[in-house]
Assembly symmetry: C2
Homo-oligomer: 334 residues x 2
C-alpha cells in the first residue's frame, strides 16, 4: 500500500509549547500509542509535559528511537526557525523527522541539506504519496467500518481508535486506518485525504483499506461531513472509496449547526443516517449505519444517560459515548 | 477572481498532428471561439486543418496574437521535444504559451529559461491558481445554471457552451464558466476542478462564479457524475460551491452503465434528478433540474424525436439534443 508511513519508536518534540493544548498531537500519541513513545524533547520553559522521560536526540537514538515526531502545533502551523538546530541534531543522531505541518520539512534548506548528507527521511504527513490512481470501484475482501459525522471535530477519530482498541482486546483481527494528520501520526501510517487532488480522492481511499482476510476489520477514521458546505466532497470520496460494510454516525450533543457555518443546520439524526446509507450504496449496496457515537462531554452522568436513551429511541440503534461508556455495544452490533 | 486566464487572440499550434481527432482541442477553439483564433501553426506533414490562416509566430505576433495555444493532444499528454524550438520562437516573438498537458511547460528547462529572459507567461491550464480558500458557503448574487450528468463524457461542456451562445444571442447577460481543461481553453479562463486539492474543491467552485448582477447567468460546465465511483466527489464539490439555481441533466441515449465501469449502472432519470436536487439543496434549497440535454448522436431524426418525447413523458421536463434541436426550449424553462 502506497501510504504515508514512518518508523517507531519515537522521540516526541514539543519545543517551547506554551501549554498542553498546543501539544495535543503529542498527547494523542501518548494516549493511543504509549508503546511507541520513547521520550519527549522539551526546550527550557516548555509548559507541556507528556509524562514520559526527557531525552536529547543522541540519548533517544541510543535507546532505540527511530524518528523524531513534531508533537506541537504552533499557531499558523509552520515550522519555527528556532527548532532547526535541534532537528539537524536529530538527523545526525540517526533519526528521521516526521511533521504534520502545512509547510514541508524540505522547504527549510538546512534540513533538506542535512537529510541528503545523512540519508535520513523527511516525512511530511500532509503530503499524499505519489502515484495515487483513480478509483476502480472493485469490491475488496475483508470488512470495513467507517466513522461518519453530522459535522467535523466531534469525535470520529477518537471513536475509531476506541473501536480498534476494543476489537484488539477481544482478539478480533482489526487495523486502524487514519485519514487525517493526527490519526496518521498516532497509527504510523495512513492517507491525508484532505490533501489529495480531487480526481484521486476515492482512489486514495481504496488504497487505504486494501484486500484483507474475510474476518479482518478495517476501522477507518472519518473526515468532514456530508452536510458541510466546504468539505462534503472529501467525505463523499472517502465513503465511496472505503466501500464500508457498516458505518458509525458520530455526533456532539447540543450542536445544531455546522461549526463556523451558523447558516448550515445539522439535519436530524435519522436524515443523516439515510443520507450516509444512500451515499455509501453506490459502492456497497448493503452498507448500513449500525450505531451512534455521541460526544456528551458537556453533560453530567444523568444527562448523558438520558441523551443516549433518547438517541436510541429516535434512531432504533445503539448509542455510546466512547469515553464514558466505551464502545462495547457498537462492537456487538457489528 | 483568482482563476486561470490567458490573453487572446491566439495562434493555435497543431505541430505534426496526424489527424483532426488529435487536434480536437484546436477544433473546439475554432468551433466555439472563432473570433479569438487568428491563425494556426502546422509542421510539414501535419494532417489536421482548422481552416484558418497558417502563420509563423512572428507573423502572428505582428497581426496581434497574444498567446500560442497548444491545440493538439498527443498520446500520453506530454510535450514533445520537437516542439521546443517553435515554442521558444513564439516567446521571443512576444507570445505567451498556453498548455493543457499534464506535464507543466516550466518542466522543460529551455522553456523556463526563455520565459524568464523574455518575461512571457507559461500558462498551464491544468494547474489550479494558488491560494484557493475553503468554501464559505455564503449565498452569492446573480443566477447560476450548472450542467450535471448521468455519467462523464456525454455532452455537458457542449450543452453549457450552446446554452451560453443562445443566451448571448437573445441579449441575456451570461458568462460561460469552464471547469475542465478544454473548456478553459475555449473560454480563456476557468478552474480545473479535477486538479484542485480536495479540501478546497467547493471553495474553488465558489471562486469560479462570484457575485454578479441579479439578472446575470453563470453557465457552469459540469464535471463527472454523482453516480461515478471515482469522480462523484469532484461532482459534489462543484455542485456545492456553484450553488446552482437550476441544473440541466445531461445524458446519452443507450448508455446504461458508467463508462469503463460496467458494474456501475446509471440510475433512472427521475432518480438522477432527485439525487442532484438533494445534493444541491445543501447550499441552495430551491435548486431544481429544469430540463434534460440528451446526446442522440447515434439515432436518426425519427428515433431522436421519439426519444426526446419519451424523456419528457418520463420526467415531465423539456428535453433537447443541443446539436440537433438547439437549446431554446431549455432557455425558456429557466
Amino acid at each position: 500500500m502506497k501510504t504515508v508511513s514512518f518508523a517507531s519508536p519515537w522521540l516526541i518534540f514539543l519545543g517551547q509549547a506554551t501549554d498542553d493544548l498546543h501539544a495535543k498531537t503529542g498527547h494523542g500519541l501518548v494516549d493511543w500509542r504509549r508503546e511507541n513513545c520513547l521520550a519527549q524533547l522539551r526546550f527550557p520553559g516548555c509548559a507541556a509535559d507528556l509524562g514520559i522521560p526527557d531525552m536529547t536526540p543522541a540519548e533517544a537514538a541510543a535507546a532505540g528511537a527511530k524518528s523524531l515526531v513534531i508533537g506541537v502545533a504552533p499557531v499558523g502551523g509552520a515550522l519555527r526557525p528556532e527548532w532547526t538546530a535541534t532537528l539537524i541534531d536529530a538527523m545526525r543522531a540517526g533519526l528521521d523527522l516526521v511533521s504534520g505541518m502545512h509547510s514541508p520539512l524540505g522547504n527549510v534548506p538546512e534540513l533538506a541539506k542535512v537529510a541528503q548528507e545523512t540519508g535520513r527521511n523527511l516525512v511530511d504527513i500532509r503530503k499524499p504519496p505519489p502515484g495515487i490512481p483513480a478509483a476502480n470501484g472493485e469490491k475488496r475482501s475483508g470488512k470495513r467500518v467507517l466513522m461518519v459525522g453530522t459535522d467535523c471535530a466531534l469525535g470520529k477519530k477518537y471513536t475509531a481508535l476506541a473501536l480498534h482498541r476494543e476489537m484488539q482486546k477481544r482478539g478480533m483481527k482489526a487495523t486502524f486506518r487514519a485519514t487525517g494528520q493526527t490519526g496518521i501520526m498516532i497509527s504510523g501510517g495512513g492517507m491525508p485525504m484532505d490533501a489529495v487532488v480531487s480526481d484521486f480522492l476515492s482512489g486514495a481511499a481504496e488504497l487505504l483499506s486494501p484486500n484483507n482476510d474475510a474476518d479482518h476489520w478495517d476501522v477507518i477514521e472519518g473526515q468532514g461531513s456530508l452536510f458541510h458546505p466546504a468539505y462534503a466532497a472529501v467525505t463523499l470520496g472517502l465513503v465511496h472509496g472505503s466501500q464500508p460494510d457498516v458505518m458509525v454516525l458520530c455526533h456532539q450533543v447540543g450542536r445544531t449547526t455546522i461549526i463556523d457555518y451558523p447558516d448550515y443546520p445539522i439535519p436530524g439524526l435519522n436524515e443523516c443516517i439515510r443520507r450516509y446509507e444512500e451515499a455509501a450504496a453506490l459502492t456497497n449496496r448493503t452498507s448500513r449505519v449500525i450505531g451512534l457515537s455521541i460526544n456528551t462531554s458537556e453533560l453530567d452522568e444523568a444527562g448523558r444517560k438520558k441523551v443516549l436513551a433518547e438517541v436510541t429511541r429516535e434512531t432504533g440503534l445503539p448509542a455510546v459515548d466512547p469515553i464514558a461508556t466505551g464502545v462495547g455495544t457498537l462492537i456487538e452490533a457489528l
